[in-house]
Symmetry: C2
């Protein structure tokens, strides 16, 4: 099997981590890299993503030029959580007839909140005979695809509950900052209001579960609370004194006929005593599972992106979600 | 959405359980039933499967006649574990241009052990533009599809280990007998030799994992040991005295370059203190999960069959496996 030719679009923390994983795994060739950051443009991609070796690919700002020269099978797109913001980027990629795997959380299951954009992207992808998918560990796996997978052994499903608890000490600095670690309560609340402190994807995960299980949801809520440090807690990167915020507690709930039927609970803070993912399906039979290692946020997200590439390339053209692709699995590269 | 028209082929314990679940769930109409057992032929299907109500469908022995009249979208086929034995039945169904979901374990992933039959069935299904799938909880879910799903969050996989422990007291009598409960050690060993006491599917599950992960397996082993009762243990259906067999311990191992890389361990016996399913992926990262409820054998197998029907009907024609269908999930029927 010839290598899958990959162009990387967006070289922030996750985009760079995808480059490092793709560079280390068989079955792929990196043929181009796109980023508008002037401190990255013109440099070798290996240097930009923190590898010791050159990758022989120079970062460029002009996406169209890179695509024309590189002729990739797929673009890995990691620029923003906001679908409205990235739509012009995706439009251009799809018009250039290249498949795209993105980490844009709002694209992971856009049917409820971004119906018009989703329909437009789907039509464009079909016209260009390419595929489009957004995935990651969450949304994309632990709070939607995996609970759905578990529901397949049920003859009846009444309610779905997922808990994800992560000790943020092992995560990268931008993640620790994204969950508000080190802020005062006032700073935290301001950042929640302006949208810069939150996990994006609960609405998408809840909509995906609801649609798959045939539940018409009246409403979806998504609420954030601060976790306040009771004692000083420190990661290698950051220390938080008592009384300051050390992370977030976020709850997403899907209501059906006024009752909560999908409950997603996330705790991500410095010093969580245990990292785990628990999924409970209430129905016939009840299913209760716990991943005692947790699904490590960064490696898991990056792996989901990389392992989904061959699944998307083998699928029908159009906008896909984790519901429509073949069973996810590790891609051996041959 | 109009109902999915179902014909049931084979009314043993699992086939009958599928009928009961299909009869109770929205989205399906039962339009025919086939069994060669003369004690069942001519009776109403509801009575044959132990329902209190009639289903308005009479069990018939002549499959061709039933199909011609009933015009089903799908046949649920539950007659035997042996692919060689059921091939003529499947051939006839596919020639009649009807999709089939089967519980024949050897068909769940036939690529390694039944390559020729698999190729023939695939060609026939494609010619008739219908789909064919065998599934269940095991093979079909807990020891193959679910471990593969978990591997999707990994950037490297070295080894896969699955443990399934079931207290057989809660299972039906034929299952308790299938695992040898109540036999002497000599009787057990004779039944292992003649193939009547064993779980069928380890080879298929191991081949599926190996293929998906790109591992060329040198060999697959499948070994059965008796579990001997240390004290008297009884279900509602059966009592076993000390020294007699109360169930089986079965190990399937896939070897790559001489090393065990896939290990499936099954314990099913009367009196197991805990029923659970545990999956460990060794790689980067390590993933360790435990389903503390277990995946209940009968309900889970029947649900996998029923929930897979719409996935197969939406898929491309041909022979499918759980690797090639869209993400498994509960089917709401609308």
């Amino acid at each position: 099997m010839p290598s899958i030719r990959v162009v990387h679009f967006g070289l922030g923390p996750i985009g760079a981590a995808v480059v490092r994983q793709i560079a280390a795994r068989p079955g792929f060739s990196i043929v181009g890299a796109i980023d508008i950051d002037p401190t990255k443009v013109g440099l070798d991609l290996g240097k930009v993503v923190g590898l010791r070796k050159k990758l022989g690919v120079v970062v460029q700002a002009d996406a169209a030029k890179v695509l024309k020269r590189a002729k990739p099978h797929v673009v890995v797109h990691c620029t923003s959580s906001s679908l409205a913001l990235v739509q012009p980027q995706l439009d251009a990629l799809l018009k250039a007839k290249v498949s795209v795997v993105s980490t844009t959380e709002e694209l992971a299951y856009p049917a409820r909140t971004h119906k018009t954009i989703a329909a437009s992207l789907d039509a464009l992808a079909k016209k260009s005979k390419v595929g489009l998918l957004a995935t990651g560990v969450n949304p994309g796996f632990t709070m939607d695809a995996l609970p759905l997978m578990l529901s397949a052994v049920c003859e009846r499903v009444d309610r779905v509950s997922v808990q994800r608890v992560q000790d943020a000490r092992i995560r990268r600095l931008p993640f620790q900052q994204k969950i508000g670690a080190g802020l005062t309560l006032e700073q935290f609340e301001a950042k929640v209001l302006d949208g810069s402190v939150r996990h994006v994807g609960f609405t998408e995960s809840i909509a995906m579960i609801g649609d798959a299980l045939g539940w018409k949801l009246d409403r979806i809520t998504d609420e954030i609370q601060p976790k306040i440090a009771e004692a000083t807690v420190a990661s290698d990167l950051l220390a938080v004194d008592p009384g300051y915020v050390c992370g977030i507690i976020q709850d997403g709930v899907g209501y059906r006929r006024g009752k909560p039927v999908i409950a997603l609970h996330l705790e991500a803070y410095l010093g969580a005593p245990e990292s785990f993912d628990a999924i409970d399906i209430f129905g016939s039979p009840n299913i209760s599972t716990k991943c005692t290692t947790g699904y490590h946020g960064d490696i898991a997200t990056v792996s989901m992106v990389v392992n989904s590439i061959p699944k998307l390339l083998a699928a029908k053209p159009g906008l896909h979600t984790m519901r429509t692709l073949a069973l996810p699995s590790f891609f051996p590269g041959s």
